[in-house]
Amino acid sequence: MKNIATFILSVIFPIVIITIVLRDASKDNILLEALKEEHSIPHVPSVDHSKHADLQRDFDNPHEVTATCISCHTERGDEVLSNAHWNWEREAYIEGRGVTYLGKKNLINNFCTGILSNEATCNRCHIGYGWFDDRFDHGNPYNIDCLICHDNSGLYDKARGGAGYPVPGLDLQTIVQQVGRPEKDNCGYCHFYGGGGNNVKHGDLESALLHASWDVDVHMSAEGASLECIDCHQTTNHQMLGRYYGVSSDNTMRATCEDCHTALPHVEKTLNEHAVKVACQTCHIPVYAKVNPTKMHWDWSTATDRLDGEPYEVLDTLGNLLYTSIKGEFHWRQNAAPDYLWFNGTADHHLISDIIGENDTMIYINTLFGDATDPNARIYPVKIHTGRQPYDTEHRTIIQAKLWDADPGMGALWVDLDWDEALAAGMEYVGMPFSGNYDFIDSRMFLRINHMVSPADQALQCEDCHTRSGGRLEGIEGVYIPAQTTHAAIDHFGILLLLFSFAGVVIHASLRYLAWRKRVKKTPDLIQKTMNR
């Protein structure tokens, strides 16, 4: 008894104590407290635009507003002219391609497929006025739409099909007197509605962020840090941090978690060590599309179907569009767990001029580079949007369709529901050959998940990845993940070793027992002597 007590006191007790002490080491996260304090100070504007004499007048057209802005903010126009929000393209070096000039201006995607020949409607989300077609003057600062980003009145609105012009009849005088730093709904005006509706494209950027609860987004929620977009997407001279790899390619000017939280944000050092290979987002954004569904699949091949000669729509019980004659078939998901992949901050894109290989059954709209051996690569969460879109079976290139026009008979798919006309019109606009023969090809697009950061207690737990099967990182290769990564040969050998040891022991013991029985039979009085044997 004494031995057992000593044993418990000397061995088990210390283990339990040490474990409890370490387990409950919930030291205050000093860094996080400092950040909270820093961001609790509200921004006080240095200027009240309603007091400016120049703004006490009516404006006939929006270009006049821009001219008035530039009359005081003299250098801002030039700044904007060199900004990607304005040019929709960037110079970037891509491995295998060299220096490229890519962006929304010339890239394809697998949502609405691309802006070319559709500028009048797509470019409602351009920070300019009048980008109706490729004749738009990107060098004229008076074409800049200052208000879409700087309107704090909430009254400003751009017209559908207006190539960036505001809806007619706005009270521009009231609006200009309330300009200021961009707020959530300025950025969200475009970024929440990419792909043609709320949360369609990104899955982690949507109107619910305007009034997000703590569970949805700790940064933007009023219960949390109540941050504006630009608090993270820091901007200097109209150059803002942040990369969207649907259009970006290089590892520069990224807005990162570490910008505020540093590379060592956790009190627990093991968690900090994870960040060498695992991006913050991977654990801290366990699900996206938390409030409204996001589009996961878009099949253009089923478009142009008619019911009784008329285009039609099919909705699910929640009101999500499952089919529409003008766009085809959609799949949606809500509270989606991301996919995960290695990413080093650089990406490639499928250009409209790229040739699709004879054996390719899938095109990658964008390719996120990186693998386990790359010191710059970490495991990131992504939304994978799959699509089926038209390509030229003869020239083997993706086809840009003309989707929109104000008038029927101009070849616009959404107006006339005629693929042949729409494809021909689109390719004619792009200036690329179209053979007239087309089919639809599967496509894949990778969208990084960066927003909708969950409260810490809802972050992924150890077992979400550290499990033999069904873990979040099941498809991730090239890195040792305890519990998930198996040592198959060693496990087989080890289990056999244990089985053989056990079997050997059982056989030996049985033989000993039989031998003892035999001896007992010969000399029965042996039983007493060797009872314990």
């Binding site: 031995n3 044993f7 093991t270 998930q484 030996h508």
Partner: protein, 219 residues
């Protein structure tokens, strides 16, 4: 038959603490390995690491004990009687032939035990400790940054550690069985609990002990 005090208090404490720690490390270790779920991964890691540190401290104390008491001599391998010992386990034990090696307090271990325990001491346990430490310190936080020296491959380290764990477990299975082959089924177990074991007559025991004490002192 004579009762002999074979295992000192520290030796027994060491033996049972090590036994418990090895089993506990196996239990938590194979959870980390992904073989089953018991404590939860985070707790398993925490328990495993703490138990590992306790075992390391115990090992350091025990190395000290081995040298100060001269008990390390028990593990000096010998080929004398080795064949006879193997033959005993393979055939003799079934015919009730006597143990080929007499157990005395000066020579507690038979030639097979000497070999196996020495192997544990100088190969298997060091490999487990070193691979475990290599695993623990694969990345370290120094001067506000995570350092990854990258001197070795974590997958390889974990493979070695896992292989060692299987071998140690196999040892435990066989060891637990072989302790039933003493004078009676439980005499070895009792000895390791109480320190006292019934042995065949050992006439020179005390005298020899005295000689060795002198021997150690003179060194």
């Amino acid at each position: 038959m004579k009762k002999v005090y074979l295992y000192t208090r520290y030796e027994r404490f060491w033996h049972w603490t090590q036994a418990f720690l090895i089993l506990f490390l196996a239990l938590t270790g194979f959870e980390i390995h992904g073989s089953y779920r018991l404590f939860g991964f985070e707790n398993a890691v925490l328990l495993h690491n703490n138990a590992a540190w306790i075992l390391i401290v115990l090992i350091i104390f025990t190395i000290f004990w081995h040298f100060t008491t001269g008990e390390w001599r028990q593990y000096v391998p010998t080929s004398k009687n080795l064949k006879a010992q193997v033959a005993y386990y393979v055939t003799g034990i079934f015919r009730n032939t006597p143990h080929p090696t007499k157990k005395t307090s000066l020579s507690k271990l038979n030639p097979m035990q000497r070999l196996v325990y020495l192997g544990l001491k100088i190969i298997f346990i060091p490999v487990m400790v070193l691979s475990g430490l290599a695993y623990m310190f694969y990345r370290v936080q120094i001067d506000g940054a995570i350092q990854s020296p990258g001197l070795y491959d974590l997958y390889l380290v974990s493979a070695i550690h896992t292989l060692g764990a299987y071998i140690l477990l196999a040892f435990v299975i066989v060891h637990i069985y072989l302790i039933t082959t003493g004078h009676t089924l439980t005499s070895n177990l009792r000895a390791m609990v109480t320190g006292w074991e019934e042995l065949e007559e050992e006439p020179l025991q005390e005298a020899e002990r005295e000689v060795r004490r002198q021997d150690i002192k003179s060194k």
